[in-house]
Symmetry: C3
Subunit: 142 residues, 3 copies
């Protein structure tokens, strides 16, 4: 296995829907914490009332945060659960579309307000995904 790659086993799977008005990232993390999910793949279909996302400035090593109160469809979503500071952490990137189909996207942060979110969580077992500071990028990586 090259540095950084691990072989996983398929664990539990969960499918569910978040409540209207809840926080997209926070609610998925809370579900995982309550069910002991510490490594997983996560996908979502749905829409938000408010989108909050960020762009990482690779040279300046800081996140630039964006906030849109436009109602958006979630038209792309890739996410994974790992451990950060001993708690399940959702790292998710998403694409959002507005009423004209125009899209924006980024790294999801707290504050995305759910309108509808159909969530699928595929647990990975037999792996250790623990985020620690990475000097090469300035990010917390596993």
């Amino acid at each position: 296995m090259p540095p950084g790659f691990q072989e996983l086993s398929a664990g539990r799977g969960f499918v569910g829907r978040l409540e209207t008005g809840s926080d997209l990232v926070g609610e998925i993390e809370r579900f995982c914490a309550e069910h002991g999910v510490v490594a997983a793949q996560v996908t979502v279909i749905g829409a938000v009332r408010r989108a909050r996302y960020a762009y990482y400035e690779q040279n300046d090593r800081r996140y630039r945060e964006m906030d849109s109160r436009t109602h958006h469809e979630i038209v792309g979503f890739t996410g994974n659960i790992s451990l950060r500071d001993d708690r399940p952490f959702l790292h998710a990137h998403a694409t959002f579309a507005d009423e004209d189909g125009v899209t924006v996207g980024g790294h999801l942060i707290a504050g995305c307000e759910v309108f509808v979110a159909e969530v699928m969580i595929r647990e990975m077992t037999g792996v250790s995904l623990v985020r620690v500071h990475d000097d090469a990028t300035g990010l917390a990586l596993w």
Copy 2:
């Protein structure tokens, strides 16, 4: 399990390609109906000759439909199969890119004409995903 969340078991998996000229959403639903797939995760890579997608106006509670005859790459796709009116229903959101890489996206509706579609279907068993009217959003949700 919080309201709305269910634990799934992995069922069958299918990988295949749709014919050029076929209807993207309709063909996947037809495949699922023929094979008894009533709950699944679906992903697609490919391109369309025509894209038809919609945006749900959260306040007005109606879909605004869009139609593009531009040839597009499918550059993002998340979908799931559930039951609606007793038949397999594909809920899918996608992002499309044109010849300059410019993207648009939305909730897929009938009329997306396949150029190439590589489809992966992961059945979920042990769960019941049946869409019924939801008062909070005006949508048919499981």
Copy 3:
């Protein structure tokens, strides 16, 4: 099974991170070649220093290639591994977001330079995905 569809079994799963500076498509293909992965689903979350992607001109039957040295977040990614010329080949489409959240996307080609890439590979066994020339589209399809 309709023409082109096959039932798969779940094979091995791998989760890992590519090195900063490596080639996104090439490194995933190299990993698969080294581990004998000839059919798989692939997803990625991360960011690139350089994005190279293409659009297939369906009428002219040629790829139009694009190259961006903007640092981008990867905000959508769908990919699969099949065999082309007897080697694992990654077919992947992705959406990228810039510092304003503006997105572009297309068919990934060699030259996408990794800043961070969290990669998940889900092997499919019991299927044969071998790309050969397809007259209807001009593409190499399984």
